[in-house]
Symmetry: C2
């Protein structure tokens, strides 16, 4: 019931699944970042490239055996966990060039679920092989350490957001985060489409969809953003920064 595939987006080129790391246009963001030509081939050899994933399909399950981490090649993925009483907490959204699944390393069991928010492609990187290759390629090892560290930093930013911030601040920070990740990929930082539903946004930010809706209303009234459905335009970037930080500066 969920495959409303009317919107086949501008992903045509990304759907060339068998492309190698060397030719992938994300290789300046992804794991190959730190490697020179021949080393990329070594990495390339262990990667199961470009598995296509349908909207709503799981990439891994909480509690499932951990064998690989994943790089998003196209589309968007969310990770979330389910607590005892069935509540879902979205822990993160992952865009092309970003790595997920690192929470499974510690116990060899995935601690969260990952599902595609739209038709996506992911590269599967067997962790055992990655570890072995890392031992041989110091720059790969240190880059991988960095990527894990970045995940920690981002989680801690979310912790601050959830612990201290008002609804406006949370939503503004959320938009800014997506904006900056878009510009890393050379996409517009002021006009973009949100690939996730209001429910997921609300869940991620610890707010209800009604609150999200009201916040959007207020931000639109101030002409800071224009949001139609999933299409976002940031009109006053500076004002949005202010909202995200100090919230009426007092």
């Amino acid at each position: 019931m969920e495959q409303q595939l009317r919107l086949v987006r501008e992903t045509s080129c990304h759907h060339n699944f068998k492309i190698s790391c060397n030719n992938c246009r994300l290789n300046t963001l992804c794991l190959p970042l730190s490697l020179n030509g021949s080393d990329v081939d070594d990495l390339d050899a262990i990667i199961q490239r470009g598995r296509p994933v349908q909207k709503g399909e799981h990439i891994f399950y909480e509690g499932g055996t951990f064998t690989s981490i994943y790089a998003v090649r196209s589309g968007t993925v969310k990770t979330f966990s389910i607590s005892e009483d069935g509540r879902e907490q979205v822990a993160g959204f992952y865009f092309p060039g970003e790595l997920l699944g690192m929470d499974g390393i510690s116990r060899n069991i995935h601690q969260s679920n990952a599902v595609a928010l739209e038709t996506s492609a992911v590269c599967e990187i067997p962790f055992k092989s990655l570890g072995e290759l890392s031992a041989k390629l110091p720059s790969l090892q240190s880059h991988f350490f960095q990527l894990m560290s970045r995940e920690i930093t981002e989680d801690q930013q979310l912790i601050t957001l959830l612990g201290k911030s008002s609804a406006e601040e949370r939503f503004a920070a959320f938009l800014l985060s997506i904006s900056s990740r878009n510009s890393r990929r050379n996409l517009s930082s002021t006009r973009f489409r949100l690939p996730m539903s209001r429910v997921d946004i609300g869940n991620y930010l610890g707010l209800t969809i009604e609150t999200i809706s009201r916040v959007i209303g207020r931000l639109q009234k101030q002409e800071i953003v224009v949001i139609n459905n999933k299409e976002v335009e940031i009109v006053q970037y500076d004002s949005l920064l202010k909202v995200a930080r100090v919230q009426w500066s007092k």
Copy 2:
């Protein structure tokens, strides 16, 4: 002022700062976990052992150059960051055998502050050397990956706590976390002393000290815990588990 050292806990041996990893009674929790005898010596060689840190003293500063990660040998450390407008968010508490500072790896700059909550001792582990050694000792590399991954998992649990949980759930989960970490160190899981202030607890859990106080009052009325100042006794462990999870089960 706070050195009510009537309870001089079994810490005497920890204050022998110059002990080696081989003789450290935490080596079943800490980095050496995965190593055999001679490899521990290699690790030992790069570690600056047992720096003493006074209460309130910084171990590293947000924005400062990252060179090392740290293992707590004795005492307790909190990490926190300060947002633009001066609000503090406590991101974690670290007990003996636990590693901190991994958020600095990604940008070579510490993303948070670390200060000792009481007189403590920490081992400094130069990250460059650790990386080099990891490349040589596969089990060290994989263990370090695991420790970083655990940090991610724990951060994500806190995210769920802050995003979804009531005050009672948060505090109950907090006590249970400390309880389980105590038992990892072979300390009592039902009777212990909280090394951090109410302010820090509240900050960590995204609650005010008044709310913490009221929650404690309610949990005591139900005879689930007994808390005097910083001394905690968990009387009904199962009930506390229930509070942490389902909160009136509906």
